[in-house]
């Protein structure tokens, strides 16, 4: 049997942390892109688009992320198109993230007072001009703190990819545990690594929130 020193364990966990970071970035960038499209669909005047997006958001917020992962990973295989754990995790986390970001951003856009819409329209601006010059600059400022805060949920969400066999931090932890039988040390280290990733983001989100509050915007 190979002996694992504490450094070996930590080194392997750190190597696996890369994949947690990469998966988080994919999910966040993908989720932001899809989420942006959804946000505008939600705000459009078409009833069908509005219905569709609110159903989409409700579905992803009302079901476990784990089930979404299973449905995509095993579902695709059962329907005759087997996909890798990488792809399944990326797709599931992207969809999950997009639903939450859509909800957050819609809230921010709606938080900009209705009167400003009317005022801009009265001044002769069209929809896009109003969006571009009046609404978006304000909504953008409001949206940064909750978006940063949500990125913590995305990082934590990637831990579930371990269940479909994607080797990221959590999976590396369980694999190392099977090899070394030192669960206490390993899961403490895994938790600390997640904490090291998430805590700075949480603090940054709180700091941004406070800045907005001090600026009197909330």
């Amino acid at each position: 049997m190979i002996e694992f020193s504490l450094w070996d364990i930590l080194r392997n966990l750190l190597l696996a942390t890369r994949w947690t970071i990469v998966l988080s970035l994919i999910a966040f960038v993908g989720g932001a892109t899809v989420g942006l499209v959804l946000t505008f669909m939600r705000l459009s005047s078409s009833r069908i688009l509005q219905r569709f997006t609110s159903l989409y958001v409700d579905l992803f917020q009302g079901t476990p992320l784990l089930m979404q992962l299973f449905l995509i990973f095993f579902g695709a295989a059962a329907l005759g198109h087997p996909i890798s754990a990488w792809l399944a995790a990326s797709v599931a986390l992207t969809l999950f993230t997009s639903a939450f970001l859509c909800d957050i951003w819609r809230g921010c856009l709606e938080a900009v007072a209705k009167g400003q819409w009317h005022a801009a329209r009265v001044l002769g601006m069209n929809y896009f001009q109003t969006m571009r010059h009046v609404i978006l600059p304000q909504a953008l400022r409001l949206s940064v703190p909750p978006t940063v805060g949500f990125s913590v949920q995305v990082i934590k969400g990637t831990a579930l990819a371990s269940i479909i066999g994607f080797v990221e931090l959590t999976k590396a932890g369980t694999m190392l545990n099977n090899a070394t039988f030192e669960p206490f040390t390993i899961f403490t280290l895994v938790a600390l690594l997640y904490f090291a990733l998430c805590y700075p983001l949480s603090c940054y989100a709180r700091h941004l929130e406070k800045k907005l509050y001090d600026a009197g915007l909330r």
Partner: protein, 225 residues
């Protein structure tokens, strides 16, 4: 390739579905109660405790909020026996869910408690209420009423997150799904049905909590929030 969905293959497994559903519901109900009760204690100690208790509670809340639930669960189930503390899977699930919900709810409650005007507490004391009475009636219950919707959302999030306890072989809804699909090989149908079951559960939970809230906090309705 033509794919046909066959949901009838799930029928022989109705008893497993019911067993999984029952476990998920019981886990959720119990942890909601214990988690929120613990949250009250944590929020109180974080606001009014000595500096070291405040530090300890703050660390607990931050560590819990910044690590994945599955890692917390594995730490409790696999890690604690390493220290000589043996617990079975269901207890580990209860413990992990309670600690998780308590950390988030304590933060939510803290915000609610912080919104209480200091003058109200002084007024209650001046009226002759004891410390405990005034804290309970003037601070805690109105704080609950204020943050109740956020607490509902959090407990729904914990219910959805509880799907992970299947990984330490607790027979919950997700475990039932894995169990059934390993026998009838109809993974897509099984996961679809179970996903819808969770969706329904989340919907029912919100409804029930809302109705309970309307009754619990009925006399608070007049208060400006």
């Amino acid at each position: 390739m033509g794919v046909t969905l066959d949901f009838l293959t799930l029928l022989p497994y109705a008893s497993e579905l019911v067993r999984g559903l029952t476990t998920t519901v019981i886990l959720t109900v119990v942890t909601t109660l214990t988690g929120i009760a613990l949250a009250v204690v944590v929020a109180y100690l974080r606001l009014h405790g000595r500096s070291w208790t405040r530090f300890c509670m703050g660390s607990y809340v931050e560590v819990t909020r910044n690590t994945p639930f599955i890692v917390q669960l594995f730490f409790i189930f696999f890690g604690l026996p390493g220290l000589g503390i043996q617990i079975d899977a269901i207890t580990a699930a209860f413990l992990a869910m309670t600690l998780n919900l308590a950390a988030y709810s304590a933060e939510i409650l803290r915000a609610g408690i912080g919104a209480t005007a200091q003058g109200q507490l002084e007024a209650a004391r001046a009226l002759g209420m004891t410390r405990l009475q005034s804290y309970r009636h003037v601070v805690l219950i109105p704080a609950f009423a204020r943050v109740y919707p956020a607490l509902i959302s959090q407990s729904v999030i914990v219910m959805l997150g509880s799907a992970v306890v299947s990984q330490i072989s607790v027979f919950d809804l997700t475990y039932a799904a894995n169990f059934i699909q390993s026998r009838n090989f109809r993974s897509f149908e099984v996961y679809l049905v179970i996903t819808l079951a969770y969706l329904l559960l989340a919907f029912v939970m919100r409804r029930v909590f809302m109705l309970a809230g309307n009754r619990l906090f009925a006399y608070q309705q007049g208060e400006s929030r």
